[in-house]
């Protein structure tokens, strides 16, 4: 007797789309025009939009790969990828267990988290001063 294989139960998703991919690309186009004309930045939370299986990948594919890729290491890794459209970034944050905690499209010249933060710069300066004081045995002026 022919046995039923798992593949026969697979749910096809090819035509089960929400049709949200195209409107999202238009939203990105509007945001990009605003960035250029008014310097206004936009962040789109990809996890707040109903998407069918495969649609998130379709959006990323449509946006393509650009020139910059950066990794941040703070409370788990974060991945910053400029897409083939300069000013459009796909940002993915992971926690320490490498689970995604947020996925965004950021329309900006550079994602804010890539810049060094004032508080961290101040803390770094203190550390450097302390080290030099220790090494040189004297005060830093």
């Amino acid at each position: 007797m022919a046995r039923t294989t798992l593949a026969e139960f697979a749910i096809e998703v090819g035509d089960a789309g929400t049709h949200n991919v195209q409107p999202l690309l238009h939203e990105i186009r509007h945001a990009l025009a605003q960035l250029l004309e008014q310097g206004k930045e936009t962040v789109i939370d990809l996890r707040s939009i109903p998407l069918a299986p495969g649609e998130e990948a379709a959006i990323e594919q449509a946006l393509g790969e650009g020139e910059v890729r950066a990794t941040l290491s703070a409370l788990g890794p974060s991945d910053f990828r400029e897409t083939s459209y300069p000013g459009v970034w796909v940002v993915t944050h992971y926690n320490r267990d490498d689970q995604i905690v947020g996925k965004f499209v950021e329309v900006t010249s550079a994602p804010a988290l890539l810049r060094s933060q004032t508080e961290d710069i101040a803390a770094g300066l203190q550390r450097l001063e302390a080290r030099l004081t220790q090494d040189g045995g004297g005060r830093v002026v």
Binding site: E8, F9, A10, I11, E12, V13, D15, A16, G17, T18, H19, V43, I44, D45, R47, S48, I49, P50, L51, A52, P53, E55, L72, A74, L75, G76, S78, H93, N95, R96, D97, Q99, I100, V101, G102, F104, A112, L113, Q117, T118, E119, D120, A123
Partner: protein, 362 residues
């Protein structure tokens, strides 16, 4: 770790950079379904937030809600528990047992009287007090005593929110929900069987940042329960075109068509499954080919069968319609237009009423 330190101070002490903190705030905004533009406001609120004492009581429950919480991927659970709250009593997670555990509960209540957050999972039996006890104290007694000193109560899971499975007919223990017993405290219901892990974490985080979240008529936070599954379901285009799977292995099922006729309760169920999803955003029941059971709605267990379409009569349809109306179900829903005569006739005859019959009847 002292409770009077702010979260900002604690994180800095642990060597977490400002970048790390801002990343946490970005994830929190997403978690709370707030626009990304709210990140600076969240950062300012979290910076100043003090760790509240949390007392977690588990009554008639299956521990599924705690299982769900410990799989939260919001921040890691360790971050949530140890940095943002001071979990002073949780009899499944704490190391202490016996009188040591009960002493911890009593001293946390005494030290933080009027200020602690009380989290409850499980329903409360009102029949024989011996049906469910902790350290010889009945659930009702322990709840009322702990509730008296709480700043707010979070009922986690459908049992604590609405009575859940213990409350299902014939409800042998006289199980009730927290809101059935307490009316003089702010109560947030986080229903679901179990609730989505990040939703539990999100509600606790909302307390820290902006206090009690905005709630619907059933005390559920609108950020997570404001939209129906049906409103945000990716199979919705098929529903709108009238393309339904008729069985679990027909062509429609394989093509990913709408599961309404297989009993999907998405149109009357309010929850975040369709966008937040489960297992780190991997999938949710409908995406896996199974209809929504409606587990975050009151009395979902008695709503007439998981595999019966909403348009098929149930003994309790009047209540289902009422709950639907209370939460603002979209007009034009098949249930709303139910032809009662047709339904009563079918119920007597044990016939199936299909969507087509109802549309004909109007």
């Amino acid at each position: 770790m002292k409770n009077d330190q702010t979260l900002g101070e604690i994180l800095r002490q642990q060597g977490i950079s400002r970048r790390g903190f801002l990343k946490f705030c970005v994830a929190t905004a997403s978690l709370l379904a707030l626009p990304p533009g709210m990140v600076p406001a969240i950062a300012a609120a979290l910076e100043k937030a003090r760790r509240p004492s949390v007392i977690w009581l588990s009554f008639q429950e299956c521990t599924g809600c705690t299982e769900s919480l410990t799989r939260s991927d919001a921040a890691s659970i360790e971050d949530l528990i140890f940095n943002t709250i001071s979990l002073d009593y949780h009899h499944t997670l704490q190391a202490a047992s016996g009188t040591g555990a009960e002493d911890a509960r009593e001293s946390a209540m005494k030290e933080n009287w009027g200020k602690y957050v009380l989290v409850v999972d499980g329903s409360i039996p009102t029949g024989n007090p011996g049906y469910s006890t902790i350290a010889g104290i009945s659930n009702v007694e322990m709840l009322m005593e702990a509730a008296a000193g709480a700043a707010a109560i979070v009922a986690v899971g459908s049992c604590a929110s609405f009575g859940g499975i213990p409350h299902a007919s014939p409800n042998p223990t006289g199980a009730v929900s927290v809101t059935d017993l307490i009316s003089d405290k702010p109560i947030v219901n986080v229903p679901g069987c179990p609730p989505i892990p990040v939703v539990i974490a999100g509600v606790l985080t909302h307390f820290l940042t902006f206090g009690i979240p905005e709630l619907d008529e059933l005390h559920r936070p609108l950020a997570f329960y404001g939209k129906s599954i049906h409103d945000r379901c990716y199979r919705r285009p098929f529903y709108d075109k009238g393309l339904f799977a008729e069985s679990f292995d027909d062509e429609g099922a394989k093509k990913g068509w709408c599961l309404y006729k297989l009993g999907c309760k998405g149109p009357t169920t309010y929850n975040a499954c369709a966008t937040t999803k489960w297992n780190q955003g991997t999938s949710f029941p409908i995406q896996s080919g199974h209809p929504c059971l409606g587990c975050s709605q009151p009395d979902f267990w008695d709503a007439g069968g998981f595999y019966h379409a909403l348009s098929i009569p149930t003994e309790d349809t009047a209540r289902t319609v009422l709950y639907g109306a209370a939460t603002g179900v979209a007009a034009g829903l098949a249930l709303g237009g139910l032809n009662r005569a047709r339904k009563a006739h079918a119920a007597r005859k044990h016939e199936k009423v299909t969507i087509n019959d109802l549309e004909k009847g109007g």
